[in-house]
Symmetry: C2
Subunit: 357 residues, 2 copies
Amino acid sequence: MDAPRTPDAPVAVPIAPAAPTLEDVARLAGVSRATVSRVVNGKRNVDPAIQEAVRQAVDAIGYVPNSAARSLITRRTGAVALVVSGAGEGEEEVFRSQVFTDPFFSRVISGVLGHLRARMMHPVLMLAETGQARDQVLSYLRQGNADGTLLVSTHAADPLPGLLVEAGLPAVLFARPELSVPIGFVDLAHQDGARLAADHLIAVGCRRVVTISGPLDVRAARERQDGFREAMARHGEPLVPSAQGNFTQDSGEAAMRRLLAEVPDLDGVFAANDLMACGALHALREAGRRVPQEVRVVGFDDSSVAAASRPALTTVRQPVEEMAATMAKLLLERIDEPGRPPRSVIFDPVLVRRQSA
Amino acid sequence: MDAPRTPDAPVAVPIAPAAPTLEDVARLAGVSRATVSRVVNGKRNVDPAIQEAVRQAVDAIGYVPNSAARSLITRRTGAVALVVSGAGEGEEEVFRSQVFTDPFFSRVISGVLGHLRARMMHPVLMLAETGQARDQVLSYLRQGNADGTLLVSTHAADPLPGLLVEAGLPAVLFARPELSVPIGFVDLAHQDGARLAADHLIAVGCRRVVTISGPLDVRAARERQDGFREAMARHGEPLVPSAQGNFTQDSGEAAMRRLLAEVPDLDGVFAANDLMACGALHALREAGRRVPQEVRVVGFDDSSVAAASRPALTTVRQPVEEMAATMAKLLLERIDEPGRPPRSVIFDPVLVRRQSA
DNA sequence: TTGAAAGCGCTAACAA
DNA sequence: TTGTTAGCGCTTTCAA
């Protein structure tokens, strides 16, 4: 009663080709597994003739080492986690879109990739914006899925640095941790950068200067603010009106409007990042103020929007790619020599003059 | 130029605590390794009492499974490669900075991450912009470092899709491959999107319309261009002046200048992406043309710059995050059921009206 | 339901 | 210089 089965379509059948192993190569080359292993890993002390024979066998058979097996012994994965961690209050999707809208993270990725690939290591991207996500990241790392962690915290009081140190996992941060944790980091001399901006605004003749700050629970935002105020005080301007933003363009635009209402005769603006400076530019244009003729604007970061905006932004450059590359370098150092104490590097900012000031 | 400073760092002594293994847990709980394994992996058929005992032992001892050992048997890593591949001509650093300046890639990452994390999988970021880099990616994958590949090609005739299929590695592409390769992908109905733009420009009264195209060796750019021209032809405008850009803002600005010189009375612009549309906006402002009063501008993608630019861009939305999430979904399907033929999904674009048209 | 035993594929002592 | 041998820590038949 059985209807004859129609044969399955002649689709490219997925034959599991049973990947060749060291054993197979060894047999074909007529040597031991150990010797093959040595050749494959480029260890010295192997007869050139045998080396050649092994190589031929490898090519002939299409051998590729299995990295799980290798990792099991070497305790190395060739991967590092690149984790972006938040405060733990936001919504997942909001956090994601904010993180990835900000050109900052792209620059971090770019810098990290640049340094890592030369060492044949690869970054695994992870988000740790909630407590649960953080636990997942932690357990992922504890399982030995990565050789170390590059951590970018977006908010203060992030518990992750402490947890990583506690777990004995190599890690390096972007930005000095809020809480004192014995861990390496790269950072910028934010106060110096803010001073550069203040000095420049004064130098080009501004007399009524205001600032748009970032969220003041973020250390970098605080330091930029403090540094700016301090420098202005030294120039005899101890009272600098300020409005707070949250590093987004919209928040910068809103802050600028508030400041225009509050200080109608302002002639200089320092924004704590370029995105907000860009927003300020929009608000100023909307208010009919010409930049830089009537109002000068200085941003911070020198992100891609700085050069792209019109007028192009004068800004304080933070060498993010270079910092990220250094972060990777510090991590690899630590992975290579676990005994070594954590190192940190602080970078100096530079003023980049464009059209806005 | 930065002169990195090195602050002194406190020392943290590295204790190598010899991670506990299944064996340790088994001994402590008084059961066999197999039983512990079953409990840890949530297999049924384990006495609740024993289950509890094992769990306690796990907690007491701080056991975490070693994923290299696990992968060796399961042949799963929990990682997928997210590779961005280029044509193979550019410089490494240039490619990196271009890739990561474009908000498009950030959106891809965001969408991928959103889908993957729910399945406890993680993306490993890789670039394959040169032949050498491509080989590295390929060997990384062949070594079993990832369970599959999500591939975003920036250029036509990318050999990687073919190589992946040939190697029997599960993969899904963003955008249909130029060469015919039996592989799954997600894509947008670009022509339909371009038609949306054309219909809108006509509907709002434009009579002298021009386009800024992307590089025409990129399929998406071609389809947007063709779709636009076709739709304009149906509206009785078979000859649409066009200038070519390369998807960057600067190239859009330059293209717009050329078009202004060539077609001084133009009153409508369709740019093949938002970045170029933004550049066009700048060129138009510079030329003293008011948008949208004198010239209407429509972009493509609805990337973050579209809403951020002033005037905000009317644009054709490409649901990149959703597409990327689907790409991840298709890949996981394929990883779970290797026998299954590749699936693809094509998304419909939507016109997003803002201020520029 | 549990345990014993056999590897997964590789590297690294240790001998030869 | 090469081979032998022992695992790395885990999952998974197969019996009990």
